[in-house]
């Protein structure tokens, strides 16, 4: 039987790959990945909207999957890959500019992370709709059409509407 990893100390050393580069940090064991990113690393692109994994504003990639960083203890990313909105290529975001994906911007980094992940996995649209895949990113400004249109535009680039 493998021994689980147990810690009970005032500071933990955490090494992981962040936005493609290795990083080692001393963190408070009680810190969430969201806190470490925003307050320790000054990567403020990732936002806090609810603290309970409902709104998705804190979405980052963990080993390539979108997750809520407000629900991840920092120590759990040891040895893993984390990517934040700061790692995205701005030139890929042109459809989002054009189709009105953002208004106030508070939900936007999380939205963009999930949307770009969908774009990287177009096979998902065989079983899921865009709206279902985006349902973990709450937006209060756009009513979602601007977001869904942007994802569709990035995927299919037709400028027309499809089943979303």
């Amino acid at each position: 039987m493998l021994r689980p990893y147990v810690r009970h100390m005032s500071v933990l050393s955490v090494s992981f790959i962040l936005n493609g580069s290795p990083v080692t940090l001393d963190v408070d064991p009680a810190s969430r990945l969201l806190d470490t990113l925003r307050y320790q690393l000054a990567l403020t692109g990732t936002k806090e909207g609810c603290g309970e994994g409902e709104c998705g504003a804190c979405t980052v990639y963990l080993d390539g999957l979108p997750v809520n960083s407000c629900l991840i203890p920092t120590y759990q990313v040891r040895g893993h890959r984390v990517e934040t909105v700061e790692s995205l290529d701005p030139s890929a975001l042109e459809p989002f500019e054009r189709c009105g994906a953002t208004q106030c911007g508070a939900c936007t980094p999380g939205v963009v992370m999930t949307a770009c992940w969908i774009h990287q996995h177009p096979e998902l649209l065989g079983t899921h709709s865009i709206r279902e895949l985006m349902a973990g990113n709450l937006c209060r400004c756009t009513g979602y059409d601007g977001i869904v249109d942007s994802v569709a535009e990035a995927l299919w680039g037709t400028g027309g509407k499809r089943e979303t």
Binding site: M1, L2, P4, Y5, V6, R7, H8, A30, R32, D35, G51, E52, G53, E54, G56, T59, L62, L65, P66, V67, N68, C70, L71, I72, P73, Y75, Q76, R78, G79, T114, H128, E132, L133, A135, G136, N137, L138
Partner: protein
Amino acid sequence: MLASDGAAIPIAGGTDLLAHWPVHVEAHERTYVDLSRLDPLKSLRWTADELQLGGLTTYWDVIRDPRAGEEFPLLVDAARQVGAIQIQARGTWAGNIVNASPAADGVPVLMAYDAMVVLESRRGREEVPLDRFYSGYKEMKRRPDQLVVGIRIPRRRYAYQVFEKVGARRAQAIAKVGLAVTRSGAGWRVVAASVAPTIRRCPAVERLLETGAAPEGPDDLLPTIAQDVTPIDDIRSSAHYRTRVMARVLYHDLRDFWGKRA
């Protein structure tokens, strides 16, 4: 650690434990046992007779498994209705079991598939059928020194299966009523969530399906349902609503089966 401490809390995906973490300052004092690096617990495995989920298998792992959708479609249905993609990528089936919420999404479908909970500790391995795992609200047959290392699901041919989650919206919703129903050579399984202190089988409803007269409308099911569940009024919904919804969903979904002997 668990054997000596008892108060240590295993943490896997963290989607239940970390909610509102900064506000729950007293939770920061507790000892947590981080399971996330136990790689052998992550994968799911197909054998000739079973689908075996690991202790760290996530909802997303099952959604992406091509065979799961074919043989155990309720697992995929339920997984897709857990929160949203960000939660599905982190939440584990085992975590859902030991969180023991009466509104859990994973537990009803596992129970309807006759899943077996595999527990391990220094004292050895123990297996408990999921439908006998809960003894009361948030009480379960897991000693503090035990870890859920797997979930075993027997492979069967199912003649009928359905999962219904009734929430206040389509995604990111906590179930007001959850129902998982299967029918196989092993008989009917009717499992209800959010209508009792625990998720549970509904033996009176199952008996009615096996042997009983056809109800003429949903209200005819109310006395039978009352034998199995005790819904309450809470911040999300009312007992009246829950009872009626359960009756209506069962009545309509099983229209083809009422009054016919198994």
